[in-house]
């Protein structure tokens, strides 16, 4: 390996050329080998250059003529010193000189990477280009860092592209449509230049800011499995429209349009770990979705400031059929009595149809902004379900059984409106007393209709008088309106007493008002077999009007202390103390006397926060924060005064008019450390503690038929705490990259229970550790190894015997490999073990693999064969302990299938079809 050195100077004005890009190319292959920027004396030095090879040195600087020098390093000398190379400022020569575009250059404060300097396959997308640039790291979780600093926003031609999701931009826009990647700092607060964030802009070639892209695909598989999806996006600088649709029966349930867009990106040429069906989802889903999003930006194309003037609209329709079945066993530790056992089987079929329509308008100028949005949601859910339970006592003798069949039809309509306005005064006016204001108003109107029919057959083995048969019909209607006002006025000391009059602390005022009104009309009928008539159930038929008013004024005392030594460090302490009083007024009027409730809960809810940041220039940044807060949990009518529905045979809720609010006190600590150097290293630590006073819990009485009668009561205090940590590290090697990620979490919780008047506390210790290693080699191979270990230890404080432990261990190995161009092999195998007290170890391994081949010149056509759950071992396991109710069971899941699919990616960027 050889070395090349030199110094670059301006010939006319006789000075060293700083920040000049020097690139070395292999002449025969016309390939970029290496590049760097000259130091403050104009010096450069390349090491590890190949010997006896024809090389070319290219020197480029904005405003200067480019210089190119051919050379080769002999095996004997190995070192070449160009000494001083002189460059000339660009003359206004009309003669065009053929120039080589430098891979990287400094253009003022902007770091630019020129797409044309990197030779890639014609079908490469921006993501493929980023992988070739050593300064840019793309993390497994989607984050992008440049020289170790995280990118806060990714824009295309200075604007948000397709909802601003970086994945959608970099996996769709062809590398050949890109002129350059620009990386620059923006100052968040012009008064403090250290408050800056790093941004990336993808500058497209001229005329490439208009076009379309999308995907149309379908696949058919064994076991009648199918999937199909469509996404079509049109864009121009001011206008964006996306149309999406998807239908499948393989548990790919998109929650919104963005998820559909994210999962139908083109992805270019490189290796990619596959996006698979979720084999963990229980049940079989058969969703059909469709929708659009539209955005129109009224801004002048030249305006680059924070100005906003934008209209958005979105519609999303989803209809999903969910089929679920499962069986489980629940053991209840009763304390004095021995355990009782309940065996359950259930299955359900649900049809959900939902429409969501949103529109919004945003307007912002330098000092003020406002936005309005409204949404309409229509939802219909029809379901049929049945379940059967067999309950046994501690001698494993059956004491009762129950069979239940349910049908349900629910319609939900809602309209929501949200608006906010904020104003801030001129930042430069140092004498202004007024520091701005913020106002928010939102409203939601909701209407619900529910028709339900339930048939329950309960039989007691020992006491036939307890047998019961219900055939009940419910007609429940409710209308509600909820309004929320939020007004805040910061820095009132300055407002009242003037600027620089009082320096100890500042006061912010906040006001929060929430008004809600709900009307419920419930009609319940029982079917009488003898008369074959529906008889009104006078106990359960009810009319209720519930009103609540929550007003929480808060005074926030705050202070920021900044210690700064130029070029050494910048340390900031920030303190705040919130004094908040919450008035919660609850009023319920009902046909049932005991449900007439009129209460006022008044609680003082203080909160405090301390944070400290230490930025040591050129070394590291660290941030600590400690926060303390109070919250209340106000008991609802269903907890204070429920109407007991005896058709719900195993669980009967009873009235407790003495129920009071619970209060949660919590404390959280967080720490984050990032290195300022280029080695991409960060770690985080966290700790939290919370204590609930007057905790609302269930007080359960279990009779001989194992029927539970439940009162909500206020228990004494109990607490939880947790610890967490993570480490991230990326190592960039010459043609490969390694990323390491480690996460750990520990939680301790106490769950108090009262069963048959015996108080008990279940203690839970939860550990979750995850380690993942990612390795990528060029654009040909990506490997990910993951290890996860989750352990839950539960024990009952007074009864050592009732330990319940649960372990989940999973190791997975995924790879993506391109053996030849256009062909990609993906494989993902995971080995899982679930171990729980009282049951055998369950081991199951899931192996998914796929083969993808792309056709046509633009790789527009894709054929894919996937084999999922090849080992046919997928299982869904229910295993848990909720305050002494230990449940073990299984549920139906998606299992082995093979599917063959074809997709077409229509793509056009720019007016002429250049792909």
């Amino acid at each position: 390996m050889g070395t090349v050195n030199g110094v670059i100077r301006d010939s006319l004005y006789n000075h060293a050329m700083k920040s000049t890009t020097i690139s070395v190319y292999l002449i025969d292959e016309d390939k970029l080998l290496s590049y760097q920027v000259s130091n403050n004396l104009g010096e450069f030095s390349f090491k590890d250059l190949p010997l006896a090879t024809r090389l070319k040195l290219v020197i480029s600087n904005v405003g200067y003529d480019q210089i190119s020098k051919k050379f080769s390093l002999s095996r004997s000398a190995r070192t070449l010193d160009f000494k001083t190379i002189y460059v000339n400022q660009k003359s206004n020569n009309l003669e065009e000189v053929v120039i080589t575009i430098p891979p990287m250059q400094m253009n003022g404060d902007t770091l630019e990477f020129n797409a044309a300097a990197f030779k890639l396959d014609s079908n490469a997308v921006i993501q493929d280009l980023m992988k070739k640039i050593p300064n840019i790291t793309q993390w497994g979780d989607g984050r992008i860092t440049v020289n170790g600093r995280e990118i806060k926003s990714l824009l295309v031609n200075g604007r948000e592209f397709m909802g601003g999701d970086a994945k959608i931009s970099i996996e769709n826009i062809p590398k050949n449509a890109l002129e350059k990647i620009q990386v620059y700092n923006t100052v968040d607060n012009p008064k403090n230049l250290q408050d800056s964030s790093l941004n990336m802009n993808l500058k497209l070639k001229k005329g490439m800011d208009i076009g379309y892209f999308g995907k149309i695909g379908g696949g058919l598989g064994t076991n009648k499995q199918f999937e199909s999806d469509l996404s079509f996006n049109v864009f121009s600088p001011k206008f964006e429209l996306s149309l999406v649709g998807a239908s499948n029966n393989v548990n790919k349930v998109p929650g919104d349009i963005n998820t559909l867009l994210r999962n139908s990106t083109y992805k270019g040429i490189g290796v990619q770990l596959d996006y698979m069906s979720d084999f963990r989802t229980s049940g079989i889903n058969q969703p059909n979705s469709a929708g659009y999003t539209l955005k129109y930006d009224f801004r002048d194309l030249a305006s680059k400031t924070q100005n906003k003037n934008m209209l958005t609209s979105e519609y999303f329709l989803q209809n999903n059929h969910i089929q679920q079945e499962g069986s489980s066993q629940t053991t209840t530790a009763t304390g004095s009595k021995s355990d009782i056992l309940e065996e359950n089987r259930n299955n359900s079929n649900v049809d959900n149809v939902g429409h969501r329509f949103n529109t919004g308008y945003q307007f912002a100028r330098e000092r003020y902004s406002f936005n309005f949005s409204q949404n309409i949601n229509l939802n219909n859910a029809r379901s049929n379900s049945s379940s059967s339970s067999v309950s046994s006592d501690h001698n494993k003798q059956i004491v009762s059984t129950s069979n239940n069949v349910n049908s349900n039809n629910e319609n939900n309509k809602s309209y929501g409106f949200n608006s906010n306005f904020s104003f801030q005064p001129n930042l430069w006016d140092v004498d202004t007393r007024f520091s701005g204001l913020f106002f928010n108003y939102s409203m939601k109107i909701n209407e619900k209709e529910n028709r339900r029919e339930t048939r329950t057959d309960f039989r007691s083995i020992n006491d036939a008088s307890k047998n019961s048969l219900f055939n009940r019909q419910y007609d429940q209607r409710s209308q509600g309106i909820n309004q929320h006002f939020d007004f805040s006025l910061p820095a009132i000391i300055k407002l009242i007493f003037g600027v620089r009059k009082f320096g100890l602390f500042e006061i912010d005022l906040r006001n929060d008002l929430n008004l809600s009104n709900t009307k419920n009309h419930n009609k319940v009928y029982d079917y009488q077999k003898s008369t074959r008539q529906l008889i009104g159930n006078t106990y359960l038929t009810n009319n209720m009007v519930y009103n609540s008013l929550i007003y929480s004024p808060a005074i926030s005392l705050n202070r920021i202390i900044n210690k700064n030594l130029t070029n050494r460090f910048d340390r900031t302490w920030s303190f705040s103390l919130d004094l908040k009083q919450e008035f919660y007024y609850q009023n319920n009027k009902s046909d049932k006397g005991f449900q007439n409730i009129d209460r006022l809960y008044s609680n003082f809810l203080p909160a405090a926060q301390v944070s400290y940041s230490d930025n040591q220039y050129g070394d590291y940044r660290k941030i600590f924060s400690l926060s303390y807060e109070h919250k209340t949990g106000i008991p609802q009518i269903s907890q204070i005064a429920p109407l007991t529905d005896s058709a719900n045979v195993y669980f009967l809720r009873r009235v407790n008019l003495d129920l009071r609010e619970e209060r949660t006190e919590s404390l959280a600590f967080n720490f984050k450390h990032n290195n300022d150097k280029k080695d991409n290293f960060e770690y985080k630590l966290g700790a939290s503690y919370s204590k609930i006073h007057n905790n609302i819990i269930d007080n359960t009485q279990i009779d001989d038929q194992n029927v539970r009668t439940i009162f909500a009561i206020n228990n004494s205090d109990n607490y939880t705490y947790g610890l967490s940590g993570s480490i991230n590290k990326a190592i960039k090697l010459k043609v490969s990259e390694v990323q390491l990620n480690f996460n750990t979490e520990y939680n301790y919780a106490q769950i108090p229970t009262i069963i048959n008047s015996i108080r008990n506390i279940w203690t839970t210790n939860y550990f979750n550790n995850g380690l993942s290693i990612n390795y990528t080699y060029k654009a040909n191979l990506a490997i990910e190894a993951k290890q996860q270990f989750v352990k839950t230890l539960n024990y009952q404080s007074d009864y050592e015997r009732d330990n319940f432990n649960n372990t989940y261990l999973s190791s997975s190995l995924s790879f993506s490999y391109n053996p030849v161009k256009k062909l990609r092999i993906n494989s993902n195998i995971s080995f899982s073990t679930t171990r729980a007290t009282g049951s055998k170890d369950i081991n199951y391994n899931i192996w998914n693999a796929s083969l993808t081949y792309r056709l046509l010149k633009g790789d527009n056509l894709e054929m894919k064969f996937s084999a999922l759950d090849i080992l046919h071992q997928n299982t869904s396991i229910i295993s848990g302990n909720r305050g002494g109710l230990i449940t073990l069971g299984t549920q139906n899941v998606l299992q082995q299938y093979f599917i063959f699919g074809m997709s077409y990616y229509p793509r056009k960027f720019g007016k002429s079809n250049k792909k």
């Binding site: 301006d10 004005y13 006789n14 000075h15 060293a16 130091n39 403050n40 004396l41 405003g63 400022q89 003022g108 404060d109 012009p190 008064k191 403090n192 230049l193 250290q194 400031t305 330098e366 001129n426 430069w428 006016d429 140092v430 004498d431 202004t432 620089r500 009059k501 009082f502 320096g503 100890l504 202390i561 900044n562 210690k563 700064n564 030594l565 130029t566 070029n567 050494r568 220039y617 050129g618």
Partner: protein
Amino acid sequence: MNKPFFYLSLFLTTTLFSVRTFAQENTVNKSNVRTLRIDPSAANGGSMLQVFTEISYVPLETTKESLFGDITQLEVSEDNYIIYDNDTKCILIFEKSGKFKVKIELGKVVEGVRLNSETLDVYGLSLKKTGSDCIIQVYIAGKLYAFDTNAKRIKETIEEKQKHRASQFYNFNGDTKVVSYYQDSKGKDKSLYQYALIKDGKTSAKYFEIDTGKYSKSGDLAVGGPSFIETDSPDILHAVRYYDYNIYRIDSEGISAAYELIFPAKNTIPKDFNTNKVYFGKKINHFFKNVENIYGVGYTFKIGDFLYFKCGSLSSYIRRNGSFVYDLKNDHLISLNRLDPDSLSHHLPIIGGWDNDFKKFDGKHLYASLSSLELFSYYNQEKKKNYKYPEVMQNYFNKGNKKDNPVIIKLTPKH
């Protein structure tokens, strides 16, 4: 990162705000102005010898007590370097060798102001010669504080009862003095002037009225530096204004325009920038939108045939390459940022990479400073070249680190 690059004209609005009555501004003589064409991209580099005859380095001692941020203002007396640091709001006094002597914590000294030390507005200090020693004077929140060079507070009132308010003054030979930020507290004219000439205790001329109206609250961008810029003649001072490319000459007779700098069109503010209402209250935003525009000049020391100056702009190119010397004899523009570190500068740089310039001219020497972060990063880059540095610097590199106090650079300019 470096310190904030602009100095808001807080002074105008916080201490001297008043209602304008009627103003009587004297006219500035513009008959003798010399026009200089300045193209920052066409400035020459070359050797240090073109401009300086001697360069030496003085590391300022770093102890727990003497640690400070940046040299916001440097004053040089017979025996001491007197430094004002805005990060710590301290005045630090060092011996000429760089040894720390004593410091004045202004946050602890200021009386009757219930403020945090970090929001204390200090507009620099001035030195008053008393024989071989001097008195340090600081004007904070309407009060004048005075100290000797041992940081001892001088209790007695130094100034006689003032008929006017002013922030700094300079005495010419004879009975004439010039004051800056002048406002008459008794007369009819309550306007604020950037300069006023006082002869025999009477105000003889007032120059450059400053708007104290509502637009003044929106702040201004200024290059910074002293309000009285020394030249090689004790009878002549230089002065500059906001958004003005003229260099003004102040002498005992009054103010006249001495040089007019003309920049390339892309670097020049609109002609009507100071008069057109569309810019009022939005001047700072204009520079955020037109970063290449130069908002002003400063540090315009004239020494022999050399005119030193610094251009202010938000453009990173100009912030890195904004310090110049104009050879008035040969019409030759030299960029101080482009000079090569050579044997005269002991192979070390003389000027920082970002928004840095000379801090002081004391009639003989120019003084600059570099942070230890910059010097150590330069030293590490050049390590393999094994230069022999002066002993004091070799010691500094061996024992110090990048978190040490800045280093003062003392340069003897050519005449």
